[in-house]
């Protein structure tokens, strides 16, 4: 399972969770977590064994599930932005709010800083390889950058015809890096930077991407509101969802690769307006009965897709989508 997308400025609204059996989809509250501050964004790590969130106070919070109490990690280098990603070996990458391209790589176990990265342009998305070996960074000016987490050195920088990169994803075997670029192309690289192919995402911008667990497919969505499922080996489109009517800023593929969750955002105000689930087998897309403004992250909880919701009273809920 993997998720990815461009940071969206969530409205910060706190809403109740409507866990229910909705149009054939069951939202089941799996965990309730204590959040000392409002959580701006969150991700699941290691199949849901950890939840990591970026707090409104600039600190990082790590929940070792099922314990509801988090550990607070303050980053000496600066406040955390809402852009974060975790990977293998208890590795967490966090972009700094005022760093203009600065990010730190932390050990979620100890909280120690492993690497300090300077991508020299505002970070819009991060991806840590599942083997913990490298970090892919999408920035607002440069094409995708890949940094070696053992040496702290930049391994390679991708290319675009125009502009920079919206988001980036890494396959579960840590062998492939997908770059969703502003020139509306998708470029697939191997982990050493060799471009394997480039393919068109559509006529509009691709904001979100994610690989399936087995790496055979990847999902991409963006400004046109459709999710496209690609064959990883060829770069060809396998299936396309119906259009959501608004841009999609985040996608998440279920562990079995059959469903894709998407965060739909109003193209005028850039506020979340729906959380949807596309069944790639039936082709049906359903709107999940959650307040989209309460969704601060998505990921996996064991074998299910999971949403992380900010609830009232500074609580987080982890809800599985079955």
């Amino acid at each position: 399972m993997s998720c990815g997308g461009r940071e969206v400025l969530l409205a910060g609204a706190v809403a109740c969770l409507c866990a229910s059996a909705a149009r054939g989809q069951t939202l089941k509250k799996e965990l309730e977590l204590s959040a000392p501050v409002r959580i701006v964004s969150a991700v699941t790590c290691d199949g849901g064994s950890e939840i990591v969130g970026s707090g409104a106070d600039g600190a990082v919070y790590v929940w070792k599930t099922p314990s509801p109490e988090p550990r607070r990690i303050e980053i000496a280098e600066g406040n955390a932005s809402g852009v974060l990603a975790c990977g293998g070996g208890k590795t967490l990458a966090v972009a700094l709010k005022k760093g203009n391209g600065k990010a730190v790589v932390l050990d979620t176990e100890s909280g120690a800083v492993r690497q300090r990265i300077d991508a020299q342009s505002g970070v819009s998305a991060l991806a840590v390889s599942p083997d913990g070996g490298f970090l892919a960074i999408a920035t607002s000016i440069y094409p995708t950058q890949v940094w070696d987490l053992k040496t702290g050195q930049k391994r390679w920088t991708g290319v675009t015809n125009l502009g920079a990169t919206w988001t980036t994803s890494i396959s579960a075997n840590s062998q492939m890096v997908l770059s969703a670029d502003e020139d509306t192309n998708l470029r697939m690289y191997d982990s050493m930077g060799k471009q394997l192919y480039a393919t068109e995402a559509g006529l509009l911008e691709p904001f979100a991407s994610a690989f399936s667990d087995d790496g055979k497919t990847f999902a991409v969505a963006g400004a046109d509101g459709a999710i496209r499922l690609f064959d990883t080996s060829t770069g060809k489109i396998v299936k396309t969802s119906s259009k959501a009517g608004s841009p999609i800023f985040g996608v998440c593929v279920s562990p079995d690769g059959k469903k894709v969750a998407a965060l739909v955002v109003d193209d005028f105000k850039l506020e979340p307006v729906a959380q949807t689930l596309w069944d790639t087998q039936s082709g049906e897309t359903k709107k999940l009965e959650v307040d989209p403004k309460s969704v601060v992250g998505a990921g996996t909880n064991r074998s299910h897709l999971a949403l992380i919701l900010q609830e009232s009273g500074n609580k987080l809920s982890v809800v599985s989508v079955e």
Partner: protein
């Protein structure tokens, strides 16, 4: 002006006011002087591409339809390189919101791909873009490409934008995405009160690869 400078050099050489080294002839020296004196230009500042770029925009200079609401707008300029040479044939892609701040994601309203003419000039008619809620200022996106040059991705702003409160020098930083004061262009009102057009120029300067 340039011819006068060349003539002046030739005259100065003839009079002995300027002496040429043995490997220079007067014509080559005049041309070198002329080129060195030509206005070099700073590259146009880059800016973010923005979320709603769309490929394959139509080749039209008329972005505004006859019955489109909003203040008619005329934008024009010349494309140069940093040496001051004009770049004819440069491709200029532009896109903007309508007068209410909406981007067209379904079609190509207020989107176009233009080519700089033999004099490096480009121009298009449109409407003054509205305020898009996720951005502070009215703006038009530009993506300019030419073989051998670094693609230029930038945005143009209007000095008349109410956000600047009449003083763009002081207030242009109110929009954190405005990377340079130079991108805020003066606006001239043309025509008569019945058919008023806001006109602005935007010079585009590309860097070599």
């Amino acid at each position: 002006m340039e011819l006068r400078r060349r003539e002046l050099l030739a005259k100065a050489v003839a009079l002995g006011v300027v002496k040429l080294a043995g490997n220079l002839n007067p014509t080559a020296a005049a041309e070198a002087w002329f080129q060195a004196g030509k206005g070099t230009r700073a590259a146009t500042p880059q800016a973010e591409l923005g979320p709603f770029y769309k490929r394959n925009a139509p080749s039209t200079a008329a972005l505004r339809g006859a019955s489109d609401p909003g203040m008619p707008l005329a934008v024009g300029g010349t494309v140069y390189n940093t040496r001051g040479d004009i770049l004819s044939g440069a491709k200029i892609e532009v896109w903007q919101t309508d007068h209410l701040g909406h981007y067209d994601l379904e079609g190509y309203r207020y989107r176009a791909a233009l080519l700089a003419d033999a004099q490096g000039n480009y121009g298009f008619s449109s409407v003054m873009p509205g305020h898009y809620p996720a951005r502070v200022c009215q703006h038009i996106h530009f993506a300019v490409t030419a073989p051998g040059y670094k693609p230029l991705v930038t945005q143009m702003y209007f000095a008349t934008d109410p956000v600047f409160a009449g003083d763009p020098d002081k207030n242009y930083t109110k929009d954190p995405l405005i990377t340079s004061r130079e991108l805020v262009r003066p606006v001239m009102l043309k025509g008569d009160p019945q058919v008023m057009v806001a006109s602005t120029d935007f010079e585009l300067v590309l860097e070599t690869l």
